[in-house]
Amino acid sequence: MSKSTSSSKITGKSSSKKTTAKSTVEHNHFVAPYDASVSFDELPDAPQPSKFRFSFTGWVGIIIVTFWIIIAITGPFIAPYGENDLPFPDAYSEFQVPQPGAWLGTDVTDRDILSRLIYGAGRTIGIAFLATTLAYVLGVILGIGAAISNPKVDMIISRINDAILSLPTIMLGLVVVAAIGSSIPVLICTAGVIYASVVFRLARALGQEIMVMDFVEAARVRGEGLWWIISREIWPNARMPLMTDFGLRLIYIILFVSSLSFLGLGVQPPQADWGSMVRENLGALQYGTSVIPVIAPAIAIATLTVGINLIVDDVSAFSGGKLSKRL
């Protein structure tokens, strides 16, 4: 009898099932339902799951971001030329205007800008994504850890974090690059560690806020393990703020990495990356023949970050917006 009750879904619509469940509790020791088919959303007193819909601007954001992700993944297959190939080997001339064969013209050493833009998409997005992921892994582990560890450890970690936070990010990047030299792994680690300090603060605040909530207390009293509490109580509540913040962090890291590359301290030539493309082709502005070599990668960065921003705005307006704004 009791077995059949726990394995069937508690819908809350039929009152008879509720009473049978209650009578089971009275007879046996109550064990939290581990049954995969019974989730907490389906308990009779759970609020109706609200339907999340993207607004028009949200869809615009999704389309832009999807476009760039597809370009980033398929880049090497769809680029008309190789990263460092010359489209017109017989007629070498820097900054050629757009023409059939090189739809965005050529750059300072006569390479095809469209191809470099496509190759650069993968590199810029890949570096930024890996760095953001690293920042999240570091920040969330340390942040939640600090929130649940003893106050002294918490204070020490937080103070160190505050010192890192109170530095201009690009200056930290400059010092690190000056010290270790520039390469893609260094770039990912630098951005990851610098931005982990922001994630740390958010994760710690979230952890502290949720850890003292009544439902966590209840789960503790019920005798649930730490992992159960984290995965069933904390994560569902911290999910939305963390996800919107992930988007925001991604934007800042894209801008940070592009700025470092622009300063000549990020991705090194001859590899293409949107920031370094702007730097390489700055001369085009002085010749005045074509501004596409400079403005195309800059617009690529802006469309990507604005696209992510549109999605983030939509999601944070739906839920968790308040918390992420307050921090």
Binding site: L167, A179, S259, F262, L263, A298, A302, T305
Partner: protein
């Protein structure tokens, strides 16, 4: 409130020490030491040892650190490895340019963006407000060099203002002559700080506008303009000062990209050159200078936030 400010100053001091440690140690993990870099591969052992002794690199780290920090605050930052000039002299040659651009940006950019932001907060949800929000959101998310390129397109290519790259001294020139000369870097930086400033000042005023006493004023029939200027703005002043200081701190970051973009002979281009030539003494000194400016501006921002909070100002 005083204990809070003292506590914040204390934290600021600790931050400065932490920052100096990060910068000092950061430049110490350099593979190959300064003497080797400076003297090149052919240098003999004796030469390198003599050079190390002259720079004090043979001392233990903690002594080097104390000497460096003491030197920094007494105006002796050591000698550049790349050019053999004292760092203070290199900074002296250029600081005027950077200070000039930063001051003009603050003088022009801050009032305009504050006015735009506050005006948007007066009519939340209006067409003007939504338009401004859209512009500032896309500005926040776009890199400085896009703004700079668009401005170059408009002013240099569109209106024929001449060369985008500025070089020269600022002495003996009138204010407007200078502005036209430096127009592009300054306008770019204005856009950089405006994007954040508009959003944040709008949020600060809107925050006050949502408080009960404003609702009271509305209900009792006070005209909208009077509510904004007599009731809301005075209380939003603290948050606004906070926002301004925060954005001037962002300027420290923005100025680096913009100076490099326009080839502007300021402090930021100096430090980027320092990183490229691995002139670690220059990076130490200038990095510390930038971070110090940033930390002080953050400190002002925090103290302004304290000062604006009546509960902290008049504790029970």
């Amino acid at each position: 409130m005083l204990p809070l400010i003292i506590k914040r100053l204390g934290i600021g001091l600790i931050t400065v020490i932490a920052v100096s440690l990060i910068i000092f140690l950061g430049t110490k993990i350099l593979p190959g030491d300064a003497a080797q870099i400076r003297l090149g591969q052919e240098a003999t052992e004796a030469n390198i040892a003599a050079f190390r002794a002259r720079l004090g690199l043979d001392q233990p780290y903690y002594l080097q650190y104390i000497n460096w920090l003491f030197g920094f605050f007494t105006g002796d930052m050591g000698t550049s490895l790349a050019s053999d000039k004292p760092i203070t002299e290199l900074i002296y040659d250029r600081y005027e340019n950077t200070v000039y651009v930063a001051t003009l940006t603050a003088l022009i950019g801050v009032p305009i963006s504050l006015a735009l932001g506050i005006f948007a907060a007066m009519f939340p949800g209006s067409l003007y407000d939504r338009f401004l929000t859209m512009i500032s959101v896309s500005l926040v998310a776009s890199p400085e060099f896009l703004t700079a390129t668009i401005l170059v397109l408009i002013f240099v290519f569109g209106m024929g203002w001449g060369n985008a790259v500025v070089v020269g001294s600022i002495e003996g020139k009138g204010f407007f002559e200078l502005y036209r000369h430096f127009a592009l870097p300054i306008t770019t930086l204005c856009f950089v700080i405006a994007s954040q400033l508009i959003r944040m000042s709008r949020a600060a005023v809107l925050n006050v506008m949502n408080s009960p006493y404003i609702e009271m004023a509305i209900l009792k029939g006070v005209p909208r303009r009077r509510i904004i200027f007599r009731h809301a703005l005075l209380n939003a002043l603290g948050p606004i000062v906070n926002v301004v200081a925060l954005n001037l701190a962002y300027l420290v970051t923005g100025v680096i990209v913009v100076e490099v973009y326009f080839g502007y002979p300021g402090l930021a281009t100096l430090i980027v050159q320092g990183v490229q030539t691995r002139d670690f003494i220059l990076i130490q000194g200038l990095g510390m200078l930038f971070c110090l400016t940033y930390v002080i501006l953050m400190l002002i921002a925090d103290i302004a936030a304290f000062a604006s909070n009546a509960r902290l100002r008049h504790p029970k």
